[in-house]
Symmetry: C2
Subunit: 422 residues, 2 copies
């Protein structure tokens, strides 16, 4: 008998009909002889609607009360799902984050899990019932208050429960067939990946792939949880995200796992920075204080004649205005000449564990882009990833040529269902 | 400093604007130097909408899951109300039934309160905050599950908290100005009652007055909680429901407190019952097994010639079909001749503690009805109440003439706001 944790997002439980469809799938899994724990998000747009209601009442809602409010969403979906399963003749019981033992710190809106004590969930399984657990929510023992985990919280709930219950697999249900070699909406020849390491998945997620949240993948990796990303609209096998033990290489690692594109970043260039020690530190301390998550950094070679240099970095567009303001405020201290802000950039990332043992990947990437007439503006690399920044309007073409150049194209076209899978 | 428990029903917190209005009133009460605990129902029709959703998913939802589902309603209203109060600069914290220590038995959908341990509510008050508590919901320690208290549950929550916290008063906010001598929609000359005993209030509620639930009044009476029923739409004094100590009579009790009408009952007559011992017991055992709450019973004098008699009783219309079916199934055993079902009856009740010491009330009531040409079909009495059954279509006229005959008419017309106050 296997223990399976299944996570269904809001689009999978958007209305009564969807809830009944999901209930049927859960019952099938249970009747196949598995123990089943289900983590569920709020129905459809419930969370957004509750947030709108809060903003109607007060401009800056209290974090504690906002968490109390938003957790009503999963309470509704989990109770309905449990009813639907019981209606199909299988015992089911729903549990809030608190009842399921999701203990967190007291950081309302973005709480971190500090412990998972799923005694009641385990007891429900032992009694033969399906346990339905509210995603996204937790409980702080010190204050006795309800918390929420922030974006992607339901994925994290599922992975944390899978780890605590020593589940065989954590299935993340979405509206696409799994993780693809690149975004199928951009490259119709994208191929579903059957197996990927959590390390590669992390790099892909960090590079802009939307199918899984970084936080959930990190948690799965740290706790050795196998993820299975699959569609709730069919019974196809999806993508397994595995954790090969250190030094274990019975998995034949492909050179390249996938190509990710990210159009959410902007580039700031600090022009005419005095080329003396400490200036870079000064700039990035200012940026960090503004709360920006910077990604790539490039410092140009100094022009000897002027003794000045340019420093460019990328950051989420949403962090742009605040960072610009912080740098402008520090202009006299840093003594730079001007600032340039460019939000028309795109980032392409090539991810593959095989890169570790293959030196030719960069050259092959640059050649493919050059032959397609695509200019590279910035480059950064990690052990298993190469990222390049290009113009935003060339990113789709860039992904296509790179996808082809590394032999990732599929024969058949990917089937993409509506929605975003969250 | 007084400790005031305030209860606001769904119509008082139906939307963001109403919530802000109620928040303002709470803040005024707090700033006047009172400690304030607020019990709140779900917004407007939320509970009905959640119930509809449950019925879409499955015809007979599980009680445990239905309670989990429905309690999401108060979670939303209480969090929004706490946010709104904080937005006005006064500290406020919301608590679920479980957090507020509303301990109940495990009867989902109609749980009984077994203990109230409002430690967190008391601590919130001690820290100067307003405590907002979800109405209608509780927690069973044995199962660890969430429960609901059933109809009128929020009133009961408020009274139970007031008792446990030894509050000075429990204010029940509704959309009318208080308790009236009779339904102002039926009798425009109805007068607001300034003070009424809980004993009288109980009889009025049992006789069909809708403004307070019997259960909450019973709880208040048993625990000596003073209720103040008042409108959330103005600052008028409402009706005080008091508990005079035994033998204490500094309250001048009026002869008649009010007149209640009830059109929700039907009459069943079991015709031709053998007039031998044990038949009545047989009939009412059958009725009780069908789950019907019977109210009045009349047995006709036996006709000596036939050795048979008729037995009539009243019961809620909703219990009618089931009771008829149960009696039909027992027809051979009981050996009655026919059943008659009459759902066109109305019940008028006259309530007043002064009746105890005044013998002429019945005669005065029957005279007033006789002079108005209204026929009396059944009569029942308690120590402080007389009820009569008439035709349904004469009940409004009956209430008017009785209201006038006992000198209850007001000079001014009552102001009635929309809605039912629940």
């Amino acid at each position: 008998m296997s223990l399976i944790v299944q996570k269904y997002g809001g689009s999978s439980v958007a209305d009564a009909e969807s809830i009944k469809r999901v209930a049927k799938r859960i019952v099938e899994t249970r009747k196949a002889g598995n123990e089943v724990v289900v983590v569920v998000s709020a129905m459809g747009d419930t969370t957004d609607e509750l947030m709108d209601l809060a903003n109607e009442v007060v401009p800056m809602p209290s974090g504690r009360e906002l968490d109390m409010l938003l957790t009503a969403g999963e309470r509704i979906s989990m109770a309905l799902l449990a009813m639907a399963i019981k209606g199909l003749g299988v015992e089911a019981r729903s549990y809030t984050g608190s009842q399921a033992g999701m203990l967190t710190d007291a950081q309302h809106g973005s709480a971190r899990i500090v412990d998972v004590t799923p005694g009641r969930v385990r007891a429900a399984l032992d009694s033969g019932a399906v346990a339905i657990v509210a995603g996204f929510q937790g409980f702080n023992r010190g204050t006795g208050d309800i918390t929420t985990l922030g974006r992607g919280g339901s994925d994290t709930t599922a992975v944390a429960l899978a780890a605590a219950l020593d589940a065989d697999v954590c299935e993340i249900y979405t509206d696409v067939d799994g993780v693809f070699t690149t975004d199928p909406r951009m490259v119709p020849a994208a191929r579903k990946i059957d197996t990927i390491t959590s390390e590669e998945m992390l790099e892909l997620a960090a590079a802009g792939a939307k199918v899984l949240y970084i936080r959930a993948v990190e948690y799965a990796r740290r706790h050795g949880v196998t993820l299975h990303v699959r569609s709730s609209f069919n019974n196809n096998e999806g993508t397994l995200v595995i954790n090969p033990a250190d030094g274990e290489s019975n998995v034949e690692e492909p050179l390249i796992a996938g190509v990710a594109a990210d159009l959410s970043q902007a580039k700031i260039t600090v022009v005419g920075v005095p080329d003396i020690p400490g200036k870079a530190a000064q700039i990035f301390t200012t940026v960090a204080r503004a709360g920006a998550n910077i990604d790539m950094i490039v410092q140009n070679v100094s022009a000897a004649a002027t003794g000045r240099t340019d420093i460019s970095f990328t950051l989420p567009k949403t962090d742009g205005p605040g960072t610009i303001a912080a740098l402008e405020a520090a202009r006299a201290d840093i003594a730079f000449e001007t600032l340039q802000y460019d939000d028309q950039i795109g980032k392409l990332s090539l991810v593959g564990a095989g890169m570790r043992t293959n030196a030719g990947v960069s050259a092959q990437l640059f050649t493919a882009l050059f032959e397609a007439g695509i200019n590279i503006e910035m480059i950064s690399t990690s052990e298993i990833r190469i990222s390049v920044v290009t113009r935003a309007d060339t990113i789709a073409a860039a992904v296509r040529v790179v996808h082809t150049a590394f032999g990732l194209d599929s024969e058949e076209k990917a089937v993409v269902h509506g929605g975003t899978g969250r």
